[in-house]
């Protein structure tokens, strides 16, 4: 026979008790990981390798018209903001692994930098589209 323990009362636990931001960081990390794996290879290949090497000629007006549209916002979110939080999460845990950080200061610096990069990219899109 299995032991049947009584459920502890959850009435006294408050709505905010024990909550923290880890699920948010992890969700951003996971979403960013998908984008890093699925979108970043194509972006590096086209804009950072084939175009600079001359295999592809980028057309300024075509890119501006694309980027100023909703596609630019999607690009910024999927290729810059989410991967930035993915990178921030790994760097923060990497600092903990190397025993040179990982605490509150690392959290503030890593995710703060990712947030700054994201805001800067979104502002750039907003200026062009506005």
């Amino acid at each position: 026979m299995k032991t049947h323990a009584k459920l502890p009362s959850t009435a006294k636990s408050s709505r905010w008790h024990g909550l923290h931001l880890e699920p948010i960081w992890w969700s951003l990390f996971s979403a960013g990981g998908v984008c890093f794996a699925v979108f970043v290879p194509a972006v590096v290949l086209v804009f950072a390798i084939l175009a600079p090497l001359g295999f592809i000629t980028l057309d300024y007006s075509q890119i501006v018209s694309w980027y100023a549209d909703i596609w630019g916002l999607l690009f910024t979110g999927a290729v810059i903001c989410l991967p930035a939080f993915h990178a921030a999460h790994r760097i923060r845990h990497g600092l903990h692994d190397l025993q040179i950080g990982g605490g509150l200061l690392s959290v503030v610096i890593c995710y703060g930098a990712a947030a700054l990069l994201s805001v800067a990219a979104l502002y750039g899109w907003w200026q062009l589209s506005g």
Partner: protein, 129 residues
């Protein structure tokens, strides 16, 4: 009386598995450089002259080398990440598990599809490819 060996900061150098783990974590370092380059690219769209100078920056050998590293890093990250996905979110149909190999294959197909899409969108503007 007892003793407990403490981990030092170099624990990950002791085993191949841990070195590959650290390599996976380090794939974000070239990614960070790429993100900064792309951010500069967004702001360079303000005028054709700035865009041209951004393109000149992107063509510098050391920048190209770092971006080449970023491509390798992205592919290695994809290789590890795609294997983790079916383990974190197993998809069951009734009592049967969707084969993990199929889920990995679908994700690689998505990578290829995005590359083809980008080449189609930006590659044929001058008929170079």
């Amino acid at each position: 009386m007892s003793y407990k060996p403490e981990l030092t900061g170099s624990w990950w150098l002791k085993h191949r598995f841990f070195m590959l783990y650290m390599l996976r974590e380090a794939t974000v370092l070239p990614l960070v450089f790429l993100l900064c380059s792309l951010l500069a690219g967004i702001y360079s769209l303000a005028s054709p002259e700035q865009f041209a100078s951004w393109q000149a920056f992107m063509a510098r050998p050391w920048v190209l080398a770092l971006h080449g590293l970023a491509l390798v890093a992205a592919l290695y990250h994809a290789f590890t990440f795609f294997q983790l996905f079916p383990r974190v979110m197993p998809i069951r149909i009734g009592a049967r598990l969707l084969p993990p190999a199929l889920m990995v294959a679908v994700q690689w197909a998505a990578v290829l599809a995005v590359i083809v899409l980008f080449l189609w969108l930006f590659g044929n503007s001058q008929g170079a490819i």
